[in-house]
Symmetry: C2
Subunit: 308 residues, 2 copies
Amino acid sequence: MGSGAEFDRIRAIFAQLGNRAAPSGDDCAIVTVGGERIAVSTDLTVEGTHFRAGWLEPNEIGWRAATAALSDLAAVAAEPIGVLASVAVPREWSAERVANLMEGVGAAAAAVGGVVLGGDLVRSERVVIDVTVIGRLGTVVGRSGGHVGDGLWVTGTLGAPRAAIRAWAAGREPTARSRARFAHPVPRIAEAAWLRDLGVTAMIDLSDGLAADAGHLAAASAVACAIESERVPVDAGADRPEDAVVGGEEYELLAAMPTGFDDDEARRFQAQFDLPLTRVGVLREGQGVTVLRGGKPSALDGTFRHFE
Amino acid sequence: MGSGAEFDRIRAIFAQLGNRAAPSGDDCAIVTVGGERIAVSTDLTVEGTHFRAGWLEPNEIGWRAATAALSDLAAVAAEPIGVLASVAVPREWSAERVANLMEGVGAAAAAVGGVVLGGDLVRSERVVIDVTVIGRLGTVVGRSGGHVGDGLWVTGTLGAPRAAIRAWAAGREPTARSRARFAHPVPRIAEAAWLRDLGVTAMIDLSDGLAADAGHLAAASAVACAIESERVPVDAGADRPEDAVVGGEEYELLAAMPTGFDDDEARRFQAQFDLPLTRVGVLREGQGVTVLRGGKPSALDGTFRHFE
């Protein structure tokens, strides 16, 4: 639903809509059809806000925009059905560039079992792409089910997308590794289903960054998150380790797992998905997020706000 | 799915996606969930392409964008479940303006029994609003079921939105009537269900204008449309009668009805919905659209291309 302050703002706006609105507060809204639950979410990517011209190839813009939306399905452990992509491009874009962008959308959907269901195409000064995702939902997984004592686990490794943005913003080319992490993120759909099957109590994707999204999970679950910064898995493409805690634009998952879930289970996860699953903290009584360094609270928190 | 040439272009792009894409060619894609069919569609509105700053109040921008998408549900006679609205606004927009825009979205959805299911909110230089609609579908109504001999019927009265755009583009204030028709269109949801129950064979909404959308219906049904221009109901807010044939941005319906459907039925429609239902032509063997004036083909055809 967008990053920190924006999220708060849109929630306030939805609240004003009263009974005309039915937002879930989680990454997806849930609709029941024919006795089955479907999860829906939408994610808007705008040139100049989420990326700048020249950073990405058209197929990467499409892939990344689709992944940002598909990652919302991962956060609730839904199985993708399909995506709708509304695209606005400048007049000078050729049909081939538009096709490449849509190919990126289609490839991202296909990689997790979805199809392109439809879309819209208009002209605009800046590139805009809005992707709506629809998925089948089994057990409802949200942000609000975390319990005191649950371990906090993170998929993958963090911090590289911020390094890529920093390089571009400084006029440098990012490293291949950080560039790939920014341009070609992977929605953790199968991983989410695995975590759900092993009893995940609350889950969220890290589009706003670990510290901020832990804050959303803590607030929804009415608990506190304690994160040990030394445990946070730093990606090889990161240039500053703190980006693993506060950098955003990640599409990994933060999962609260019950106390029985341990490193043996995490090794099974790693073997199955070729992806680390790392315990980074615990849910405690209280509220908010504390990032511990050497066992003591540090100042590493707050919300990632794109690159503006 | 966007206007004429854009429609053709996006179809070509979807075709390139091969089996990764599943567009329906109709106004909505159809997904089966739990044995029920749902219809989904998305419609992107961009400042500078669909309207200009100063033309509309924020709540009108929201209403109009939602109606553009909801009208796609009307075209397939689906019953709205809800909408998702992705919104980008310039930095100088206050929270109140954003709330007003979302109120417009919520009001348009509520007016036809839907709710706001979710959304996204980001910053952008220009206003962008993408609305995705989800609805329940009974009998599948599409563009492709029209038969030779079916009558072509239009709901409401046409031509006023183009008059409003023409006035604004010339620096004048539009008349109250034409302004209202542009700013506050109504998706014909209940009317579509009525037409479906009386055997509609093919239907489309008039977002591209009567002549262009008749062309889409003709192509999908593999027939020709013959439209008698004298029969086309011209709105009191229109300043040029030909806008009723070629002006776009209408959200009325064009319906192909079986031969038994006559003016008596249309009067029942008018009595129920306080809205005209007018026979404007017939489906014939052949292809394309012929607009007849005094029984002879005229040059009134082609696609509306916004105001660019």
